[in-house]
């Protein structure tokens, strides 16, 4: 006789947000970098900043750093991000 057993995983995934429309080009855009603030981020994001300006003709790169690298970005950073065309988040481990 078959044994009935249950699925232990999450089955109802609620989509919390819709992704923003993709950009066709970075030229002339404002890009925000949200750093987790770890030791390695300084050099890493400086390099990303340079690449964005030189290779993709980004108009402005704004760097913001979280106060707690293990927690979500503060509301102030999320509010600022609303004025950016693109946000890049990343680790500096």
């Amino acid at each position: 006789m078959a044994i009935r057993v249950l699925n232990p995983t999450s089955e109802s995934m609620v989509v919390a947000f819709e992704p923003a429309p993709r950009l066709q080009s970075l030229k002339g855009k404002t890009v925000g970098l949200i750093s987790n603030g770890k030791e390695g981020t300084t050099g890493f994001f400086a390099h990303v900043d340079r690449l964005l300006r030189e290779r993709y003709q980004v108009a402005e790169v704004i760097l913001r750093t979280k106060s707690n690298y293990s927690a979500p970005a503060e509301d102030e950073i999320i509010d600022d991000a609303k004025s950016w065309d693109l946000a890049i988040t990343g680790l500096g481990d």
């Binding site: 044994i3 249950l6 232990p8 927690a71």
Partner: protein, 357 residues
């Protein structure tokens, strides 16, 4: 009380089939599981008087709701009997508090595990031991409760190695990390009482915790000298792992506790002493190869504890032996220990599940 279950089910041929079915989908920790049958899952829910869709809490970063049914399924898989389930539920409620920062603790490369400490009469009701071999598979109850925490993380929040869990090393406590305090052989108030839980209540304390670091001192009866050994291990952790202050757990065995008792030292004296002694200067990083990040803060003093009451002093361990342990926090105060009474709901209305049918 409605006990309709909502999870997808599978009809499988036999026990071997079940084991391979769950292993092959990444739904285990590598050990065999107890088949989560509807009957067993309902028994857990009935024990805590919860309906299947009752929300235990919401993981705040990824905004994932944790319901009682999924937690019960994972508890059964871990080997829990219904009487073990209240501790699992309360531990998860504690883990879902903002100050615990569950996502950070489970995703970090730092590789901590979630330590669960039991207090109160539930320890005896479920047969949780707090003496011999207390930090590793001392008894059925603590083993399955600790395992249920991890299996639920894996299956409900995708905290599998390489998925959400990005630990570089992890540690064996990730299999199961639950202990009970030896309240009967201690002259202190329990850990839970020291954290404002009424003496009559059972409670869980959760801590995002590194692996235990064992110490030994059997050659003195003086509290100061015994505690100097614990403090030295805390300082070593501050140099070698993380300098930041946080909730350090100290597991103190009966032999050391007896010396404390004779000298008239209790929780307060012990915590105050460790607060004063577990300190290093940042310049000490130069002795362990971390000189490059001292910068201009070499003279800055760091304390393992932000205040004496951040110490989680736990009476536990076999009756003989001068072996204790410090259990460091994952990363300073980024995650804070949380203590909750088991079965208590201090800020909610009675649910439909708790009403007579």
């Amino acid at each position: 009380m409605s006990n309709d279950l909502n999870s997808k089910y599978f009809d499988l041929d036999d026990s071997d089939d079940i084991q391979e079915f769950y292993h092959s989908r990444g739904w285990t920790d590598g050990f065999p599981i107890v088949p989560p049958t509807p009957k067993a899952v309902r028994a857990c829910l009935d024990w805590v008087m919860m309906s299947a869709n009752e929300i235990i809490g919401i993981e705040p970063v990824r905004e994932r709701a944790i319901d009682a049914e999924k937690l019960a399924i994972n508890a059964v898989m871990a080997g829990c009997l219904p009487m073990h389930f209240p501790a699992v539920v309360s531990a998860w409620m504690a883990m879902l508090k903002d100050e615990f920062l569950l996502h950070g603790t489970t995703a970090s490369t730092g590789g901590c595990a979630i330590l669960v400490i039991l207090n109160g009469s539930i320890r005896q009701e479920i047969g949780a031991r707090s003496d011999f071999n207390v930090l590793g598979s001392s008894d059925r109850a603590t083993s399955v409760i600790g395992r249920a925490i991890r299996l639920a993380l894996i299956n409900i929040l995708q905290v599998s190695p390489g998925a959400i869990d990005r630990s570089t090393l992890g540690h064996p406590g990730k299999i199961s990390y639950c202990i009970a305090e030896d309240e009967e052989n201690s002259n202190w108030p329990s850990l839970a009482e020291s954290r404002d839980i009424p003496k009559e209540a059972s409670a869980v304390t959760v801590l995002a915790a590194c692996a235990p670091r064992q110490i030994m001192n059997e050659w003195t009866t003086k509290p100061e000298e015994i505690l100097d050994t614990y403090a030295a291990e805390m300082r070593a952790n501050m140099r070698n792992y993380s300098i930041w202050s946080g909730n350090y757990a100290v597991v103190m065995p009966a032999q050391h506790r007896e010396h404390m008792r004779v000298a008239g030292w209790g929780r307060e004296e012990i915590a105050n002493y460790l607060f004063e002694k577990a300190r290093i200067q940042r310049s000490e990083w130069s002795t362990v190869g971390k000189g490059s990040v001292i910068r201009d803060k070499g003279d800055t003093e760091y304390c393992a504890l932000s205040s004496p009451d951040h110490l989680l002093l736990v009476a536990a361990g076999g009756p003989a032996g001068g072996f204790g342990a410090i259990i460091p926090p994952w990363l300073g105060t980024k995650s804070q220990a949380v203590t909750l009474a088991i079965g208590a709901c201090v800020d909610c209305e009675p649910t439909a599940a708790s009403q007579p049918e």
